[in-house]
Every structure is written in C-alpha cells, then in structure tokens.
Subunit: 528 residues, 2 copies
C-alpha cells in the first residue's frame, strides 16, 4: 500500500484533525489494522463542513449545467486514473476481488459521466412555461414559468457493500452534485482509506474545473452522522445501509425543527417466483442461475434474492433439491467486514429459531467465512406476516417457500412488505396469464423482472432502485439511474419576471435548447 494516508477530515478542500478520537481501518481478511489513523470529526468540524456547503450552494446550484457536467466528467477521469495501489487498498478493506473492484470503479465513473449527460440534456430542469394572458376574463393570467433548483446541501452515507459505486463518489453523491447540491459525506467506517483516496480524486477534479471550495466535504467517525442529519444547513440525506440505521436517520430528520427528506435504501428480500412451466422446462437451470445470483459477491447485494416461491409439485421439490446442491457447491468466503459477518451469522440464527423454518443445506459459518445456506419456511409464516421471514439476511442465504396453489401464491405475495425487486421466472405461455401477478408485484417493488435475476442493477434512465418501505424510506425515489437526481431538486415558479432575471432554462430565447412544456405542449422553440 504505497498510497499515503492522512486520515484528516475534509472541510471543503482543507484538511482538519481537531479531534482526539482516532480510528483504524482493518484488513477485511486478516483483521489487521491498516496504516492510519483516521481522526473522528468533532462537532465543530461537521458544522464547518455543513456551513461551507451552505455558503457555496448559491454559487454551485446556479452554475450552468454544462459546467457542473464538466466537473462530473473530471471526477470520472480522476477515478479512472487511480492506480493499482488504490484497487489494492479497496481490496484489503473490503475483501472484494480485484476484477469486481475494477468493474465497480468503471460503474462509478460511468455513473458520473451519465449524470453529466443528464446535465447537458437538461430535462432534469423540467422547464414549464405558461405565458401571460392579459386579455383573459374575468382576471388576466400572469406570465408563469417553472424550473427546478437543488434543494440545498446533501448529507451522504455510503454503503459498505459498494465501496465505490454507493459510497464517497457513488450514486447519491453523483446525483446530488448533478442537482447543484454540495455534498457532505460521512465516510463509511469499513473503507476509510478508500474513501480518502476517492475524496482526493473529487478534490482534484474540483480544482481542475474551478469549482468553488465547499462543494464536497467528508468527515470520519461514529456518531458524526447524527450531527450531519441534524445540521440546519443539510436539506436532504442519501443513505444506503441497514433498516435500523436508515430508520434511525429518518427519525432524526423527521424530528428536526425543519424536517428534511431522507432517501434511505434499506431492506429487501427480493422475492423470486418460479412458475410451474419453468420448473418443468428448465428447473435445474433456474436452480443453477439462482444459486449463482444468491452467492454472487458473497450475497452482499441489496437485490440478493432472499425468498424463492413456487407451487407445491414434484418439479418444485426437484428444483429445491437442485438449488441446495448448487448452493452446497459454493465456497464459504470472507465478507466485507467483521460486522457484516456477525450480522449474517445473527440473521441465520434468527431464522433457525423460528418454528416453521428449517435449514435445507449449508452449515453455521465459521472462521469468518460466510457459508451459503438455503432455508425452507412454511407458507403460513408469510401469510401471517411473520416479521423474521421478511427481514433481510445480508449474505449468501435464501429462503424457499412452497405454496399450495396459485391463490396462495397471490396471498403470500400480497403479504410481503415493500421490495426493491420482484421476479417472475416462467415460460411464455404461463407468463401470458400473469398480468395479475405482474400488477401485484409492481405495487410491491420498485423493479419487476421476468426471466432474470435481480442482482445486477443497470445504471440508466429507466432503472428504479427503490420501492415501498422498508425497501426504501420513500417509494417515490430511486438511488440508481438518472432519475435519482429528482430526489435533490425542487420546483420554483417565477411570475412576471423580466426575461433577463429568469434562469436561463426559462428565458424566451431558450439558450439551453431545452424541450419545454409551453402552454401544455412540449417544444424546443424559442418564444417571441
């Protein structure tokens, strides 16, 4: 690890280490401390970062979108330019393999570039114009024009399982910066060295593109997250993590004198329904594919399929047996960190303690290696809304549920809580008769899949990585894909403003070349 570490908090581009509490990052495989230390932020440091973000917000949020796009593109370049020592550091902190990390880095820089495209496209501004009707009776209509503006500084809490794509320069940061919102990141304690290197890359990009100081800050430490969420300058929060952690932030934000939105991506068991025709035609293949999805990345994905449903039949029994066989072939592996491993072991024990849930394959995890496991639960547990069954067990485990018939399948799905994803595996004929199932799953989940597996979340315009509670804290948002920018924007209406005082998005000449809704019709034309 040749990369030098400072371990200081980032108050904009300044470094600060006022605190006395120090933290060490550890090697995920060996548990040995990595070079450090990292200085836990003091309340004053969190305050300074937030106030700096607030001070720079007016400037940053009104930069031309193309200028912010240049900033994002340059962050992407800086991330891509991080060397082998960086990849090695991330690997040591997370136990994730090099190929995965190189892929994730490409995803992260690609995400930045995609948001740059959104900025240049300009549809995020959602410009609407209703011109004055001075002759209207009984009252004239004034000139009214609407576009969107960033909500203000955003606090970002990265995830452990994507140290790049959902962390310091991840989707929440990209979306917030794109929206014109300065970002204050609470560095994830599981990869602080990674976070520092990424933060340095962002600072270099800010420097190279002439961004004002304070568009990005980062603080370290436990407990500092509360200060961040409660700080009056922070206007929204992005979070990816556990239900308990996310809900705690939501509760803090809701209790503020001025409540703010928290977009927390939290807990999902991602049901997969395997229909009879598919079981018959390709049950063994589905079992193999599903096992690969459950064990991919040691099961450490928000979209990991944690619940598999099928109608009782010899084919379903054979499928379950094949699934167990494939899962048993998978090797126990090191998880992201000891906390994650402990949670996995705890989740497994909680399942085992529920009457009506049995373990079909796998064994207790030992030596820090997560053992793949398959459980079977009685359908009544789902129908009765048993909470244990609905809780995400983060790791390479899944629960099989056999239902009596199609009616019970619908009942079981209806009893599920909100999900990130819901999947149907079926043959063309039987799928054609599944409009009711698709509609039901669409009410439960942010993404409905057919004949695919939920792991693998494409970053694009059409993606939704969200869903009803407890999948997220607000079903109206997504934390992956370009729509994620919407979480950090608010509409503003301008009435009777002189053209020169309007934001460029709304000026008569349409200098940004936007498609605008003018009198209810979308047009790119300039106004007279």
């Amino acid at each position: 690890m040749t990369h030098p570490f400072y371990g200081h908090n980032h108050i904009g581009k300044s470094r600060s280490a006022l605190g006395t509490v120090t933290l060490h990052s550890v090697d995920a495989r060996t548990g040995e401390p990595l070079p450090g230390p990292f200085f836990q932020a003091t309340r004053e440091e969190v305050d300074a970062a937030c106030r700096l973000a607030q001070a720079v917000f007016p400037t940053f949020s009104t930069l031309a979108p193309a200028v912010r796009a240049g900033f994002l593109d340059t962050i992407a370049d800086e991330l891509d330019a991080l060397g082998d020592d960086f990849i090695a550091t991330v690997g040591r902190e997370t136990a994730l393999p090099e190929a995965r990390l190189r892929g994730e880095r490409a995803r992260t820089s690609g995400q930045m570039r995609l948001f740059a495209t959104v900025l240049r496209r300009g549809d995020f501004l959602a410009a609407r114009i209703d011109r004055a009707l001075p002759q209207r009776s009984p009252l004239p209509r004034p000139d009214l024009r609407q576009c969107r503006l960033g909500v203000g500084p955003v606090g970002v809490f990265g995830a452990s399982n994507f140290p790049l794509a959902f962390s310091t320069a991840g989707g929440d940061t990209a979306a917030a910066l794109a929206a014109g919102c300065p970002v204050v990141v609470k560095a994830h304690s599981g990869h602080m060295a990674t976070a520092e290197a990424v933060a340095e890359a962002i600072h270099r990009a800010a420097e190279r593109t002439g961004m004002p100081d304070g568009v990005f800050s980062m603080v370290y430490g436990g407990g500092v997250g509360e200060w961040l969420v409660q700080h009056p300058a922070i206007q929204a929060v992005g979070f990816t993590g556990s239900l308990r952690g996310g809900r705690a932030l939501c509760d803090l934000a809701a209790a503020r004198p001025d409540p703010i939105p928290v977009f927390a991506e939290m807990s999902s068991i991602n049901p997969v329904v395997v229909l009879p025709g598919a079981l018959q035609a390709r049950g063994a293949q589905v079992a193999q594919e599903l096992a690969a999805s459950v064990t991919l990345g040691v099961g450490q994905f928000c979209t990991n399929p944690g619940l598999v449903l099928g109608v009782r039949s010899p084919e379903f029994s054979a499928f379950v047996a094949a699934l167990c066989q494939r899962m048993a072939e998978a090797t126990p592996q090191t998880m992201l960190n000891r906390g994650t491993f402990g949670s996995y072991c705890h989740g497994v024990q909680a399942l085992l303690a529920v009457p009506g849930i049995t373990r079909l394959c796998g064994a207790d995890s030992t030596g820090g290696l997560a053992a793949p496991q398959v459980f079977q639960a009685e359908a009544r547990l789902l129908l009765q809304g048993d909470a244990h069954l609905q809780e995400e067990v983060f790791g390479p485990a899944t629960v099989v549920v056999e239902v009596a018939d199609r009616a019970e399948l619908l009942q079981a799905l209806a009893a599920l809580r909100g999900q990130l994803t819901a999947t149907l595996i079926g043959e063309p004929d039987e799928l054609a008769a599944c409009a009711d199932l698709v509609a039901l799953l669409a009410r439960k989940a942010g993404r409905v899949l057919v004949n695919g597996y939920p792991t693998g979340v494409e970053v694009c315009d059409a993606m939704v990585h969200g869903g009803p509670y407890p999948a997220t804290s607000d079903a109206r948002g997504t934390s992956v894909g370009t729509l994620a920018i919407d979480r950090f924007l608010r509409p503003v209406c301008y009435q009777n403003l002189p053209d020169a005082l309007l934001p460029p998005a709304l000026q008569n000449a349409n200098p940004l070349g936007l498609a605008r809704l003018v009198e209810g019709v979308s047009t790119r034309e300039a106004l007279a």
Copy 2:
C-alpha cells in the same frame, strides 16, 4: 337551505352512521347551528373506508388514463351543476360572498378538467425505455422500461379557507384521483354541509362513469384524522392548514411502522420587497394595491402578504403612511369561523406583546369582525430570527420592516424561513440589478413574483404552490397546478417483460401516443 342533509359518513358510495357523537355546522355570521347533525366517524368506519380504498386501488390505478380523465371531467360537470342552494349553503358555513364562491367553484371544476387534460396528455407517466443490448461486453444490458404508478390510497385534509378549491374536491383530491389513488377525505369541520354536497357530486360522477366503489370516501369528525394518517392502507397525505396541525400529521406519519409522506401546506408570511425606485415612482399606488391584497377575502389566503420590507427613506415612510391609510379604509369583516377569528385575535396579541413591534394602524377586532391592521417591526427582530415575526397571522394584517440599506435587506431576507411566495416590487432599472435578490428569494420560496401580488394562485402547469419548511412539509411538491400529481406517483421499472405484460405506456406500439425517453432521446415513435 332546501338541500337535504344526511350527515352520514361515506364509505365509498355507502352511507354509515355508527357513531354516537354528533356534530353541527354553524352559520359563520350568526353562529347559529345549521340543520344536521353530522355523525362523527368511528374508528371502524375510518378503517372500512381505508380498506375499501386499498381494495379498489389495483383496479383504479390501472384504468386507462383517459377513463380516469372522464371521471374527473364528470366530477367537474357535477360540481358546475350544483344549484343556488349549494352556493347559499357554502356561504352560510364560511361567510364567503356569493361571487367569490361562484368563482371558486369554477376554479375547482376547472382544476378537475385540467387534471383530465394531464391524464390525456400522458406526460405524468414519465415513460422511459432503455432497450436490451444483448451484445454489450462484458455484460449484456436487459430491456428496462420505467413509468409511474399511483402510490396507493391518499388521505386528504381540506382547508377552511377554500371550502371548494382546497377541500373535498380540491386540488389534493383532484391530483390523487388523477394519479390513480383512491381518496379518503376528512371533511373539514368548518363546512360539513358543503363537504357532503360535494361528496355527493363526486359519487354521482363515479356512478355515471362506472368507477369501482371505493375510489372516494369521506369521514366526519375531530380525531378521525389521526386514524386516517395512521391507517396502514393510506400511503400519502395531503393537507392544507395550520403549521401546528400539519406538523402533528407529519409527526404521526413519520412515526408509523411504515412512514408515509405528508404533503402539508402550512405557514407562510409571503415577504414583499418594495424597492426604492418603485417607492419613488409609484409608492402610493403600490400601497393601495398591497392593501387590497392584504385585505382580499378578509386576508384569509395562504399567500397573504404578511411582511413588507423596504430600505429606510422618506419615500418608504410615505409609502407606509399610505398603506396605513388604505388599510384603515378597509372594513372589518366576518371571518370563516369563530376558530379562525380567535386565531387572528391571538396572533395579533402575540405580535403586540413583542418588544420592537408596534401597531401602526387598526384596532383590536370586536364583535367577530376582523379589523385590518398594520404593524411595524424593528429589523433586528428579523435579523435575529425572532419566531413571532415569522409566524403567519392568518387574517387582514401585515408587518412592515424598515431596513438600513440593501445589505441589511439581503440579511433580513436570508434570515427568513421557507415561504410559499416572495415578491419584488421595482422599476425596470433597479430590477435589472436584482439578480442576487431573485436568486435569494428562489432559495426561500416556491414562487417568486415581480410587480405583482401573491394572492391569486393560478392553476396551470407552471404554478408552484409550495416551498421550504414551514411553508410546506416537503419543498419538492406543489399543491396547486398540474405538477401536484407528482406527489402521488412513484416510478416502477420493468425488466425484460414480454410486451403484452407491460403497462400500455411502455409497450412497443406506444398505444397511448406518449413522448417517451428512449435511450435518452424523447420520441413519440413506436418501437420496432
């Protein structure tokens, strides 16, 4: 009042009066009880209404948009067809004059028709399509398509001050029904007879257009609102009213096992800045116009200008004197109800009790008639963030603040909390130098006006009736205008679905003729 009243709760199209608590509506001018009684809903009745809404949601939310549009158009027709006795009833319950009520009824039916237009236009579906890239390396891209779906049943709390446009069939109800969300209204206690007549009109429209039972319900009574917000079937809440009431609902919603969003439009003092040039050129005229805006409708508007700022000068002093003169000419009038009148008197007393605030004109209100009043507050109160000065006094009162110079003006505005509106009055030359002021006001308010008055909220695509807390509970929404529908929609992504299983908005043939974002480009073309 020839209109017959039943006073029963509406569980869908059924009537129910299981409770033993009865309520009476009163004549706003005389305080005499009107014919009744109205039966306060029991918890079972609230539960029945919410469960019926939940049961009908799958059907209602997937009706073709044009079918829901027909429902909204028919509600509009039924509202327009309500006779003179209806207008008389609303007048007795609210003391609002007939001409205003006829205008408000037209606004309410016009709003329904505008949402019908939005449904036929289809842009609310926000369709996005990223087609499969099977050859992409290293991983193929699946077919991903996104559109929006209603969030689920919506609870609506009407406002007292717009018994039609912001109540039973008001903007929240129109937006929710347009989004495909069944609505359960908590009838406002200030106009229960009005609410019943409007609810009957909605039921007739539902019957005429073949809507499934349960798309609309209404319950009466105090305390029932808590049950509504806490009911598991309710997925979002619309509210217009006081800060205390709105915040209480937000807190209840945030404390649910599954928190839901509350869109509460609450408290705004709607600052108006009068610039030196305007004072010089037309101070007396501005004073007259402003007095008319402050006293319009007995000051009972959310956008009533409650704070007037200007830089110290002889012209500003003359303007304040002229404003007082005009306000003194306005006649004390009956407010919506005794509660509103009591709140106005209380708000005025609270202002008078603050050292640094003096009354320039007007007197204590007596005999149930609200007396127009002008106060002056020392600028330091704003600069110090004094809470009293920032609290809305709902009624025909406004507070004048004289600042030392432009720098202090900016400081005073920066110290304001979130607002529905913020207004600049100025001459062309001085406005041209006000880009900083406009930008500041856009960060504070949902609507920024130049040379107009904030009362009068146009219902159109470009309107924003929203703003940062405490103006609303979520600055990202509006409760007036077509964008209001967004509050009740969530995005759903469909991955690799057979064309026939996709919602029509996303099918290849584009049967709804939508403009869709396909691979990042907006197009109305069908896909091959």
